[in-house]
Amino acid sequence: MCAFQAPTSEQSSVSNEPVVNDFAFSVATPNGSGSQTSNNVLVQTLFDMGIPVNGKNLFPSNIKGLPTWYTIRASKDGYTARRATTEIVVAFNGATVAEDVAALPSGGVCIIREDVAKIAPKRDDITVYIVPVKDLMKEAEVPSAFAKRVENMTYVGAVAQLFDIPLDMIEASLLKNFGGKQKPAAMNFAVIQLAYDYFKDNIEKSDPFRFEKMDLTKGKILITGNEAGALGAVFGGVHVVAWYPITPSTSLVDGIISYKHLRKDPETGKSTIAVVQAEDELAAAGMIIGAGFAGARSLTATSGPGISLMAEFAGLAYFAEIPCVFWDITRMGPSTGLPTRTSQGDILFTHYLGHGDSRQFCLLPASPEEAFEFGWRAHDLAEELQAPIFVISDLDLGMNNWMADPFEYPDEPIKRGKVLNAEELQQFIADHGKWGRYMDVDGDGIGYRTIPGTDHPMAAYFTRGTGHDEMAVYSEDSDTWLDNMARIKRKEETGRKLLPQPIEDYDSSKSIGLISFGTNEPAIIEARDWLTSEGVETNYLRVRSLPLAESVLEFVKKHDRIYVIENNFDGQLNQIMRIEYAEHMANVKSLALGDGLPMAARWIVNSILEHEG
């Protein structure tokens, strides 16, 4: 396979006009060869040049050797979605060079390692630049222990020279990448410089692509969704993090570990966050539920297989009403599936996670900003709703670098929900005659809880996953059961309003509406412009939580035709909408593609044109 697709006919060749800041290039290397640094440096430098950019890493489930691709897209118009096609390939992997070259459009560019070039297919309609890696490395005299990893700097030099990236800026981002450490930065830069000079002196540029400084990234940041989510947790007051490693969620917990220091007690230097690597996902879930029961803010991060394993605990948290936060950084399923490919394929299962009549609250971030915001807000919501909150992100958001605005500092005080301390409990009893954990005195389905350690003889209650009355006492009575379930469903309605509401771009003159969620956002933005240019005007609503907000239905009703766009196989958001609004789904069409790749505008446009055309 290859990370990018062969161009379709309408895009099959590149014109000879200069192309500035509006093309994509893919770097093909074997996994574990250290190309990540090269790619990061390139992305960072383009970003520093003020060019809207994104980088998508398509890596294998393997530590070393299998093919990996990194696609960097610069877009003067600010589009940050994956592009289905790429104009330029850096072909540094013999194992994939055939497909990599074949997928280039006519007029495309191939920057190729000398040894790889020997086995590459020939094409007359593309420009080929050969990088003499061996010679350059010999010249560079890098200590042999580092040679392999530094090799990839040769293409950085080549790219910089060919497409006009200032070397000093490359040097700066290299230094940044090495956390300010001069020595490794210098060693790598020397190789870049050599390659740059080699290209300057020996290669004649014959392609139309070029970068030019802009100022569209000013004030922006480049960050992965998992780092953003981690920061959200840290600023959201998380106390207990329990997890079990699994791709692609691991870096979220790594992020929490690396920002734990922000939550040190200034006097003692001790931490206010505990991060425990559990023995498995069941234990991780149990730990965060235990912490939630104890009144602490807790979080786990996992992916599909972990979500499956946590189902029993998720049902307990739902039914015993324990605040806690689960992150699902979705990867491709079913089963172990494709551990390093992105997907939005867990939302139906997660929304209904747990046997019996469970229904979970889910947040659906679409960007680093939201990963941060939902990251802190999830802990407020968990305590306000006394329920587990599932933040469903995905590999694309979690592990790729996204351009974002610096995060807004949480604009509200921390909300701990309805927790009674000893005095408040006393008052409650005075007001209501008694206190019971699950009494719904406010009519919102949410009781008042006490936490262990509350020094009051009536404060204790018994938490359980078995049937219980409003005093938290075991009960098998039918009416008690029904009352309790009805209250929990009432809470669901409270949540429906409290959770992040959809974001709409609506104009009553348009009759076509798009509905989506999460990381499809950039592709949809691009697709809408593209569709407009094809004469198809669209409105757009992005769902940000489950259960579905009421405005989703309103949006559906206001349109003649709705397309629900998702990155999964079954069209699961559409399925959830069908469950909730079957009566109004006649004009709703599901557009679902679960191919493991971040969504690209092209597919959306083509799919919609097929119906609208």
């Binding site: 959201g236 207990v240 206010t272 505990a274 235990g290 912490a291 262990p452 350690g453 938490t463 078995t466």
Partner: protein
């Protein structure tokens, strides 16, 4: 007037709801010992939590310490819930109850790992050799070759949960018999003082499904075969005089082992027939290995070790309860966020 403890509470104040177990169930005796011990020690119930998995045994936390928060969790998963709760609030003490099925079958992984992390709590296994609540299937501690009415012959060797605990790195491991109230109470008292996971494997007969004389988990077997490794006396931290008195006067060299617990409590073990020093790991393993081979019902403090750091110590968290830190400790400042943001620019 009812008797009162140091907190001015009666023993009744340490009870929970009425038990719904079968009359005569060993588990009820253990609940009673927990109640007595907490009452005698004058424990503040709001500083305790009670936890359990699922099973008849795991129902019992509802029947003791009615003023403590409790959590009847999932089958086999109590240890992880305990871990989380005690990280969330390290000021709490936890008394947890599990069954032999709950711990030895579905819960084996969590049992091992909670011990390895040295989560400081009292972990009681109410061991009856059967699944009580699901009506009498063999558990993993059932005797090899035992026959049960519905489930035929048990072909598999029993798992020794005390031995498993030691191998997993437990620093306090005891075995007892729910019919031996005094020993259970002493062990509970010591376990509560222990700064680490304290495993109490208590044989606790299921009178409904496994009380046949032939079963090593029956009352009659326990009564007849229990061999205490030592007589146990637990001296509270402030109990100073008595300590000197007895040490000096009544016993000869080698007849008494004194184990100093972390909080000043002293566990005094008086030698009976056997020489057993619970501070020797290999000896503890050997004695259990021998007991297993020769079907000996040895009870007492089998193993004790100066505790390793607890999970909270390893996590290096603040000494207060995380759960009740003020909001100010929960959210870094806007400046700190700005600084982080700058690093991504």
């Amino acid at each position: 007037m009812a008797r009162e403890n140091a907190l001015g509470l009666s023993r009744n104040d340490y009870k929970g709801r009425k038990s719904t177990l079968c009359p005569g169930c060993g588990h009820d005796s253990i609940s009673n010992q927990i109640i007595s011990t907490a009452y005698d020690l004058g424990l503040e119930q709001h500083k305790l939590i009670k936890l359990s998995g699922i099973g008849c045994s795991s129902k019992t936390p509802a029947y003791f310490l009615g003023r403590s928060h409790g959590f009847n969790a999932l089958h086999g998963r109590m240890p992880s819930v305990a871990t989380g709760a005690l990280l969330g609030n390290r000021e709490l003490k936890a008394v947890a109850v599990s069954g032999d099925g709950d711990t030895g079958s579905i819960g084996m992984g969590q049992f091992k790992h909670v011990i390895r992390r040295n989560v400081p709590f009292v972990y009681i296994i109410e061991n009856n050799g059967v699944y009580g609540l699901t009506k009498g299937q063999f558990s993993a501690t059932a005797d090899e070759g035992q026959e049960l009415k519905y489930y035929g012959r048990n072909d598999l060797p029993p798992i020794d949960l005390a031995l498993e605990a030691i191998i997993a790195g437990a620093t306090f491991v005891a075995r007892s018999f729910s019919g031996d109230a005094k020993q259970v109470q002493s062990l509970l008292q010591a376990a509560i003082a222990h700064k680490g996971t304290a495993i109490l494997d208590i044989i606790s007969p299921c009178v409904t499904f496994n009380n046949n004389d032939a079963s090593t988990k029956s009352y009659s077997y326990g009564k007849e075969h229990e061999i205490p490794l030592h007589e146990i006396q637990v001296l509270a931290p402030d109990y100073v005089e008595g300590k000197e008195e007895i040490t000096v006067g009544d016993y000869e060299e080698g007849e008494i082992i004194e184990v100093d617990m972390h909080d000043g409590t002293v566990v005094r073990l008086k030698k009976l027939d056997r020489d057993h020093d619970p501070r020797n790991r290999l000896q503890a393993i050997s004695v259990l290995e021998q007991a297993q081979r020769e079907e000996l019902f040895l009870t007492g403090l089998v193993y004790y070790e100066e505790p390793r750091p607890t999970v909270q110590e390893n996590e290096n968290i603040v000494s207060e309860a995380l759960a009740t830190l003020p909001s100010s400790a929960l959210r870094p400042s806007a400046d700190q966020l700005a600084e982080v943001m700058a690093s991504f620019q």
